[in-house]
């Protein structure tokens, strides 16, 4: 895929108790195996965008399917799902109505299960829609699932559907991460909040779970509520990345839970919010000044995990540089046993790490292309740069 230019695309358990002592774990970081790193290559993927598509999507998914591979990309501006076939170099677009009998709401995420079944997420509408045979039968809507009622104080949660926290459909059950509708400044958020919903589509039963670690007894600005996960097919288990915890959580389909240390070497502590939560400026400052873990991706080709963290841009904060909002990404590498084996910090201001995916070639991370006079970025070229795992010298 070296220097490809693809025309037309887009145009493309409850851990009720966090038993581990965080401080102790950080001390252990000194002895963590640091044998691997990620190296930026000169290879990239480029997609020419259409007039309806911007450089940023909240939700994309790379899929190996039979002998082909695809990249799916949600275009929220037009409520459409784009797909690109790497072998045929053809793209397809599925357009969805927001309202009406077949309305799916304003989309902010999706999960491609197979070509027969695609799940669409509309967080604002608390709605997940299963679309059946979308490429055969024009947008036949099979089933619409409404989340639990939005009554405050119940176990309802606003569903997530981004690249790193999309729903997964595994053995007839849909696993949906969400953000509980509970005041986060109260103890109820931790004690009663359920951020994982498991819906059995065969018998229409549903259950909720909390995966919040004990860190959530404290108050955090809202940027820290969104959990991330990936499904590890060889092990039939999920792995979760809590934004404020050094640990990652592994959950089997029997819902047995274990957790492992997977912290960044670049942080000492993620501090809860101590200022007035009701002030938006305080919430923003709390986010800027603290690290936060986000996406975790399983690399089935190398049997590794990549856990992403945003680090505070301390120099920009100290200098009151407006770019203080651009936190710096670092990627923690974990082996198949979820043991930390390396970490790579990315250059600041260059990447959109939330737009990343894994292929047999390595980890692709979005990096906009500068235009010819370097006065800005090419607004019609979506670009991903390839990173490969290498042994540390």
């Amino acid at each position: 895929m070296n220097k490809y230019k693809h025309h037309l695309f887009i145009v493309l358990t409850i851990i009720t108790q966090s038993c581990q002592n965080t401080a102790r774990l950080r001390e252990n970081d000194q002895s963590v195996n640091d044998s691997l790193t990620l190296v930026e290559t000169k290879n990239d993927l480029r997609f020419e965008l259409d007039e309806f598509t911007g450089l940023i999507t909240q939700s994309l998914q790379y899929v190996d399917y039979k002998d082909s591979s695809f990249l799916f990309f949600l275009n929220r501006h037009v409520n459409s799902l784009y797909s690109y076939n790497f072998q045929t170099k053809k793209r397809k677009i599925l357009n969805f109505k927001k309202e009406g009998p077949n309305g799916v709401g304003k989309l902010n995420g999706f999960y491609f299960h197979n070509f027969d079944s695609i799940f669409l997420v509309s967080a604002d509408f608390y709605k997940i829609t299963l679309v059946v045979n979308p490429y055969m039968d024009k947008n036949k809507i099979f089933r619409t699932m409404k989340m639990t009622p939005r009554k405050i104080g119940s176990n309802s949660a606003k569903p997530l559907g981004f690249t790193g926290n999309r729903p997964y459909f595994i053995k007839n059950k849909l696993y949906i991460l969400g953000v509980p509708d509970i005041d986060p400044t109260t103890s109820d958020f931790f004690n009663k909040g359920q951020n994982l919903q498991i819906m059995n589509l065969m018998d229409s039963t549903k259950k909720s779970k909390s995966l919040f670690t004990t860190d959530y007894k404290h108050t955090w600005s809202p940027y820290f509520y969104d959990y991330y996960h990936d499904f590890v097919r060889p092990k039939n288990s999920f792995v979760y990345s809590p934004p404020v915890s050094d640990s990652v959580i592994s959950m089997s389909l029997n819902e047995d839970i274990t957790y492992n240390y997977a912290g960044s070497r670049y942080i000492k502590e993620i501090q809860p919010m101590s200022t007035d939560f009701s002030d938006g400026v305080n919430r923003e400052a709390h986010y800027y000044s603290n690290a936060s873990y986000f996406m975790i991706l399983y690399d089935k080709y190398n049997k590794l995990f990549y856990r992403f963290i945003e680090l505070p841009n301390q120099k920009a904060i100290d200098d009151n540089d407006p770019r203080k909002a651009s936190k710096i990404a670092s990627i923690i590498i974990l082996n198949d046993k979820l043991e930390k084996v390396g970490e790579k910090k990315l250059a600041p201001y260059e990447f959109f790490p939330i737009m990343s995916f894994v292929t047999s070639e390595g980890l692709y991370i979005s990096q906009p292309l500068l235009n010819s006079d370097k006065s800005g970025v090419e607004e019609n070229i979506l670009r991903f740069v390839l990173f490969n795992v290498k042994k540390n010298e």
């Binding site: 606003k158 809202p222 938006g280 407006p322 936190k327 201001y349 260059e350 970025v377 607004e379």
Partner: protein
């Protein structure tokens, strides 16, 4: 409070990417100056999505008001702005694009819209965070439609 949560749960992605190129700004940008006869709504395109949606709706409803202008800032490309606010709004002379992110450099927040107006000869700024945006926009409506 649940409203606050809903506003914010979609926000995090934008923070990782904003201001990517503020150091690459071009030199063609005219300086943005605030005139006392207008109220201004400064809208960071990659800020809090719920707030941006409200500010955008406000712009659509008051596009022909002669007492307010809308300044879009903190965007990666002009295409981002056009796709976010729609072509009609994008073309309006009520819309100002802060192409060099000058206002962010000047200290405006990249998270929420900011209302700017002149009072007793001094420029005043009010940050419209999710807690206050509804109330402030209602009051703004009264002022600009008087």
């Amino acid at each position: 409070m649940s409203k606050v949560l809903r506003f914010f749960s979609l926000t995090i992605f934008y923070y990782a990417i904003i201001l990517l190129l503020s150091s690459c700004s071009n030199g063609k940008q005219e300086t943005i100056e605030f005139e006392s006869k207008y109220h201004y709504l400064v809208i960071p395109v990659h800020g809090c999505p719920g707030c941006i949606q409200k500010a955008k709706s406000h712009a659509e409803e008051h596009l022909y008001s002669e007492r307010i202008k809308y300044i879009f800032t903190d965007f990666t490309t002009e295409k981002d702005v056009r796709l976010s606010i729609g072509s009609q709004l994008f073309k309006s002379d009520r819309i100002i694009l802060d192409r060099s992110n000058q206002l962010i450099d000047d200290g405006f927040t990249s998270s929420y819209p900011t209302l700017v107006f002149t009072e007793k000869g001094k420029l005043k700024k009010i940050i419209l965070s999710p807690d206050v945006i509804d109330d402030k926009l209602k009051k703004l409506n009264i002022i600009i439609t008087r």
